[in-house]
Symmetry: D2
């Protein structure tokens, strides 16, 4: 209710602050009997980890995950899986000068007004560091969904600032620090270098996809699969927009174009197009889930901005410290994890109401 648990049947409760002793999460509801060890989780955490290229924050966190419970002799027991990640690089001094000021674009003002006090160290609870436990939980969901249905998750960057990135191949994604699906990322590097020199930042657009989806996941009215995806994505730090399938392009489409026609192919229903993005009436069609997300420019920049302090005095804020010039660069594994958590939740919801069978046809 206070917003730190994601999901109901596969419920992930997240805790911690950027500069506290540790961050982590508790996964409740994981099906029993699945092989699970730290190595199954560490891979995705390493993809999200800071300090991996010169385009992301140089904070040095190994983000080593520990499984504290819920696994016995290498298998999930069906009881809560607690995952712990110690914070090791907490240079609080970096933030000393902004303790009493509200940084524009940050949650300082709202936390202070909501709670009457706030933990200012590294953004405290509002830090993107809290996405690490979600990536960890998402890895558990991904594993189960892959073993059960063969479902896979992948994502890429499709735009950085005003630079549109052509989709060439998924294979390029892991070959560059931007998760770009293109061979040549020199324009992206140039943009980043320019921003860094200018003490500025930019936004990004990311695409995330789930493939080999079971048919029939989702709920008809409120907990629509796409509604829960929108909730999950918009809940990630810095996200300002979410699209499913054709998204905002659907506004200018005609009904004759938009509705995806169905045919039989290899004895199975097949959609000729995917304007729906894999969801009709809130329920998965079996097509790829296609999600697109807008991420705002990093708010922590070296250029000064006008603001006020907690006493209402005018101040000028410059955010020193180790920040990503584009927070979207490291966001791909986060969005994949959130999508996996949504699909996992709906897989269990579907099984609760409708049983093991997935898809009449």
């Amino acid at each position: 209710m206070s917003g730190n648990t994601f999901g109901n049947l596969f419920a992930v409760t997240n805790f911690g602050e950027s500069h506290g002793p540790a961050i982590g999460c508790v996964i409740d509801g994981c099906p029993p009997g699945m092989a699970l060890c730290e190595a199954d989780i560490q891979g995705d955490l390493d993809r999200r980890r800071p300090g991996t290229s010169k385009y992301v924050t140089q904070r040095n966190e190994p983000d080593q995950v520990q499984i504290l419970s819920g696994v016995y002799e290498g298998k999930t027991t069906g009881t809560p899986i607690a995952l712990l990640i110690y914070n090791t690089d907490q240079r609080s001094k970096d933030y000393g000068n902004i303790l009493q000021s509200f940084r524009p674009g940050h949650a300082d003002f709202t936390y202070f007004n909501k709670y009457g006090l706030r933990d200012p160290r590294g953004g405290g609870r509002s830090s993107a560091r809290l996405t690490a436990p979600m990536v960890a939980a998402g890895a558990v969901a991904k594993k189960w969904l892959f073993e059960k249905y063969g479902t896979t998750f992948k994502g890429c960057m499709t735009q950085l600032g005003d630079v549109h990135i052509p989709f060439e191949s998924w294979e390029h994604v892991s070959a560059n620090p931007f998760y770009a699906p293109a061979a040549d990322v020199s324009a992206l590097e140039a943009l980043m270098d320019g921003l860094r020199k200018a003490g500025d930042s930019c936004g990004a657009r990311l695409r995330v996809v789930a493939s080999r989806m079971p048919v029939g996941l989702g709920q008809p009215l409120f907990d629509k699969l796409d509604a829960d995806i929108a909730y999950a994505m918009m809940g990630v730090n810095a996200v300002k927009g979410v699209e499913i399938g054709a998204g905002f392009a659907a506004v200018a489409q005609r009904g004759t174009t938009h509705g995806d026609e169905i045919e039989m192919k290899d004895g199975k229903p097949h959609f000729k197009t995917n304007n729906a993005g894999g969801v009709l009436g809130g329920i998965s069609t079996g097509q790829d889930l296609e999600v697109s997300v807008a991420i705002k420019p990093t708010s922590s920049i070296l250029s000064p901005k006008q603001s006020i302090d907690t006493q209402g005095n005018a101040v000028e804020v410059v955010t020193k410290g180790r920040h990503d010039p584009c927070v979207g660069i490291r966001a791909t594994p986060i969005l994949e994890a959130m999508l996996a958590l949504v699909v996992m939740e709906h897989a269990l919801q579907h099984r609760a109401q409708c049983g093991e069978a997935v898809g009449k046809q």
Copy 2:
């Protein structure tokens, strides 16, 4: 869990089908002591009602709401408020020819595969008719929020198909059938007339705004105010995209531009711009909530489309019946209601954890 209850503290449970005997909802958690009668609700229902112009479905439903419980001597008692709307115009015969086929762009395929059976009359549960009870519940939330904080909700259309609608004034909105904030809607009329002749449909982009928002509503991690707004909006029939504040335009913005600067004005904090859309770190800033939504073209069109039937045979589907050529035209009151329900939920959540005080400053 099965997705027919919206909210937790102001929980609205929706029931009914397009062509069943009745639709309605139960509101649980409404604060006691608020004056409430049917007339307080009927106004918004009338704004959403079909048959009010030649640009919307000619289905003739009075949508008269009855309060069955939760109100005594004109005041809410704090117990569940059941709202009932009888369906009076259920011409099931209109739908006879599509009972066994999956209409492209509709939920037929997914319902059939999820549940193994479906109520095909008028779309059954997937009909946009089920938004009527939400408009009714939203009216209750709007009333409480206005009386408590002065908060108001309004919306308008900003694009119809490929026609962008300039914002001239909120006053125009109620003067035309499109909810357009412009004096001249002849281009919209021409577009609609053309689509109707062509047996086609188009999408729309709507904007919805909450003003005089309390500061501090929202939760830090998952139930962020903007995440819940995205969930609410994407859950409305035909919505394919949601933006908060600058939305997808934030991708190409620079950090120096995006982060809204703060100053003191009339003794209170004031944001110079509203790229945030009224939310920072998932919590309301007190600025207007600014939401933009993409609605896909109506899937029920007279032009034939290829599909299959429940046996897997290829069929051609033409959707006769009384359909809106653009479902976005009647959607404004729905989006307002959903936004009001989200704000109401968060107002109660905030009061639970932090007490009556709203905003430190």
Copy 3:
């Protein structure tokens, strides 16, 4: 959250007041494809109905249930099942003299202090009349559980006031108005007649049993099957105590006696005794669920009691009107229904996490 929805996966939202226009409930999460009609529900409602013997209230309510949604061509569709029961016998004048007084043993004082106002007609929301929709919802759960697992529910009275009722046979239960499992109920009749003459009332102890239980239903820590049973039973009007299995008798038992020994019988695990009441560690053993419940004496009595009014003046309260001299007499079908709702919820919860298989052995 405001306490009018029971369950999460088989969620029953209850609404209405004793003397409002209607009472009812919405069942969300019912598995699709089950045959269901009003007659499947009416039977249990008739067992709970007032006016069926001289030992219960003479209020005359047919309690005719209507299915408003969620069923198509005689089968559940998986969408919300709304059940409506109109109130037809609402003699509000009976209650006129107690509108401003707090009746001892009633919820008048607490409702008034919680909400600042209350609906006094017939107890309003606190009336036992609101158990009727639960009996209706329970009938749906019973039907599914019987078809799926063969599970059945039954109950009886084991004590009325200070009269202990010997258990002779389940067959007697439907042959007398007390749900007594004994052939001779003359002592019970005598007790009731005496109480009526004295303007007094008494309590009752009831036993409720679920047989042919699946093994493995329940959760390990908080949503233990027995914890949820206790919650369900204590939530029924007038209940003051709940026991599972040996209950309070377990206090004086020795460990050597209490722990039920296990053996193999007909190739299956068999417990020699049932002190556990069918639950170990919060999870069903497959034995009968054995529950015992204490119901307090009816608070509405003709004998005068001291109290205060809303202004704090001393008053003497006599409750006229048509009241059950022992509310426990009609409670058996209510407790059966609540037990069925708990088992149903856990059946779906188990299926969500662990799949269709029930019981390893």
Copy 4:
């Protein structure tokens, strides 16, 4: 949903196993601004701790709690409070001989059948050790409730096996290892010594009380305050019965006796008796909450019992290891904590719906 989170607004998610690396919990929803440090929690943990007298298990666990998050500069921030307790004394070898057998009275059989596998070390998840994090969370709730309303919690033992313990004074409770409210506990010591020699165990009856309760906490239909108390108490390991107020004694009471009369005293409403146990219609009256709980005899005993193993072979089970001869002895602080968590949850629920005002009068 999988039963490891207690509460909704003050939500405590519990994790860990008896012999895993650590146990703990995450508290979500704690009001911000309350002073909190480890010492505020450690006191109650020490009262529950094993090894404190010869009548409880000699397992040696310091149960030192660490606050990992949610507190900044000594004050709660409103974000999740993670509490961690490392397991230090995990002699798994003690349990080696029962890995494949189902101990009578234990959860071995049900866990194995539910999940298909189980962690047998020390009872794994079903160990009473998992009550330690609840005691810790309860201490946080107690602190807030005391500071806000002056509410206090206390408990005592009223029966040990077949020995009834007279209530003499609350002052005796902390002066003996049984939490007995009597000066002379020699009969209890004799009973314990006899049981230990006999390799046997016994049950206990405990009483737990909340004083200076706010009026108006609770919900009318399902989440009644007493229903949630029953749920909380029955969910504690080994509990088989729960009573509120007069409890099972209410069965033989008359209405003329049971309903507590109200008078004005010192200008405030005052109940002459407390058969209700502080709850009417599910809502607190302001009287003391009076709860009584039955705890079954310890199942881990040295006397042999018949059972089967996972292959269905007959086995004889003797539970060696370090066990409490009566698990009820250490249960008082646990029940206090659970009662505090229920009251805390309802305090926040009430504030959400009805605001800060508690009690009209």
